[in-house]
């Protein structure tokens, strides 16, 4: 049986009085890729940002209900610790512009005040870049700025930076929406590799991407979790008419 790594129970999120995530209960199994999809404004990104407690950084934002990591309430833990365990990759590649490729990868350690030896740093950089399938392309230019890389390479650098902290879960908010098809394909291939070691939760507007990469898909609509099922089942035989209307483009 698949073990659950993150689960939410009757989880709600608000911006002030605006109720954007409504009573969502779902289990995220370990070493799976979970796609979260739905029309704009359905609450999918907010839900994702609640998983590593980024939602609360917005003034007036609040949550209600339970969000558990290994059955422990995420909201009773230190938020910095939560974000070390649950990394995030954003829509647009955002390497630190003034840092080299090398320093970008270990930025999380520096910013959190970890003291590492040169050997440890080298190992982390190589290991992370290899896992992000970028090592072979940048191993000879590690001290060049990350912003010199192509968009797809920059996004893989951001993935390397996230996995350098050895998180258990990687959240990805539309990680390929700013990339060309070739770079998108390489990130998708990378996701399949990454799930051997991590659990991935990806918000995507690209339904074919959800179908291609994910094991399970969650469909959000108007803040509610309408359907959550194995991806193949959902794309062949969605159970809810709203899911069917959305994925077949009949949404009005």
């Amino acid at each position: 049986m698949e073990s659950t790594i993150v689960s939410s129970r009757n989880f709600n999120a608000y911006f002030g009085t605006n109720h954007v995530v409504k009573n969502v209960s779902m289990d995220i199994p370990k070493n799976n890729i979970i796609a979260v999809m739905g029309p704009s404004g359905c609450g999918k990104t907010t839900y994702l940002r609640c998983i590593n407690r980024m939602h609360e950084l917005i003034p007036g934002a609040s949550v209600q209900g339970e969000m558990l990591l290994h059955d422990e309430d995420l909201y009773s833990l230190n938020p910095i610790l939560v974000r070390l365990k649950i990394g995030m990759v954003f829509q647009r590649p955002n390497p630190f512009p003034n840092l080299s490729i090398y320093d970008n990868v270990i930025a999380g350690y520096k910013l959190n005040g970890f003291k590492l030896s040169k050997k440890e740093r080298d190992e982390i950089v190589e290991h992370s870049l290899q896992k992000a399938a970028l090592w072979n392309e940048v191993k000879d230019t590690l001290h060049k700025k990350g912003t010199f890389l192509s968009g797809g390479q920059q996004q893989r650098l951001c993935i390397a930076r996230a996995i350098a902290m050895e998180p258990e879960v990687l959240l990805m908010d539309e990680p390929t929406s700013a990339l060309d098809p070739i770079s998108t394909s390489s990130i998708e291939e990378l996701m399949h590799e990454l799930k051997k070691n991590y659990t991935l939760v990806i918000v995507t507007h690209n339904m074919q991407q959800a179908a291609r990469v994910s094991d399970k898909t969650a469909f959000f609509f108007l803040g509610e979790l309408v359907e959550y099922n194995d991806t193949r089942e959902m794309f062949i035989n969605p159970k809810d008419s709203r899911t069917q209307n959305y994925i077949t483009g009949r949404f009005s």
Partner: protein
């Protein structure tokens, strides 16, 4: 309606058009059999060329939809079902053509006594009805009508099963009709396959509309399990 939905609608119309062609082959075949009308039988062979062209066009259009739109859910099931229904219909067309060629190759009109004895005309009428009903099920998206086909096909199977026995009895009294009897047996065998194709189509319609795979299951007969 989006461009995608328009193309799906057009694909459905093309399948219905092909279905009507195949249906016309079958009805003309029945008439050619009853009236020993070789010209009409030749017309069926000509129609087969149009059926084949329609099959290729439907295949091509289905492939285009899959490649360009990457359909999912009911749309994906529809295109997958159309690809199979297309093949099934083309086979029914082949069967009708085969019957037409048998009529063309037969020297003299079939004896009424032989036709009555073997129930081939009744069987033929039932096969035509099956094709009509399954077309309506597809057009109107009615799985209850599609399920009705399984029971109806049993009648064709029944006639097919007893055909050998009935022909042996007939040939004892009419040994001079051996060639005709063999041709009638061949027609019965072909009509039985029309029933099988109609069943396959019914399965595809149920898959398309209900996402249920019922082939190779114990759903035939009264359809209680499907």
């Amino acid at each position: 309606m989006t461009q995608f939905q328009t193309e799906i609608k057009e694909l459905k119309e093309q399948v219905i058009e092909m279905w009507q062609l195949v249906h016309s082959q079958l009805t003309k075949g029945l008439s050619a059999l009853l009236n020993f009308d070789k010209d009409l039988a030749r017309e069926i062979v000509m129609i087969e060329k149009r059926v084949n062209a329609a099959e290729l066009q439907i295949d091509k259009n289905s492939e285009n939809i899959l490649a360009i739109y990457s359909p999912v859910a009911v749309d994906l099931r529809f295109v997958l079902a159309v690809l199979k229904i297309n093949t099934n219909l083309e086979r029914v067309g082949d069967i009708a053509e085969g019957i037409a060629k048998l009529i063309i190759d037969t020297d003299k009109p079939f004896k009424q006594e032989l036709l009555d004895h073997t129930q081939v005309v009744e069987m033929y009428g039932e096969a035509v009805k099956l094709v009509e009903e399954i077309l309506l099920a597809f057009e109107n998206e009615k799985t209850t009508d599609a399920r009705g086909i399984f029971k109806r096909d049993e009648f064709l199977d029944e006639i097919n099963k007893k055909a050998n026995h009935l022909l042996i009895i007939y040939l004892k009294d009419h040994p001079e009709d051996l060639q005709q009897a063999l041709n009638v047996l061949s027609i019965i065998r072909r009509l039985e396959r029309v029933g099988d194709q109609a069943e396959n189509i019914a399965e595809e319609i149920i898959f398309y509309l209900e996402a249920k795979v019922i082939k190779h299951t114990q759903r035939k007969g009264n359809g209680k399990n499907a």
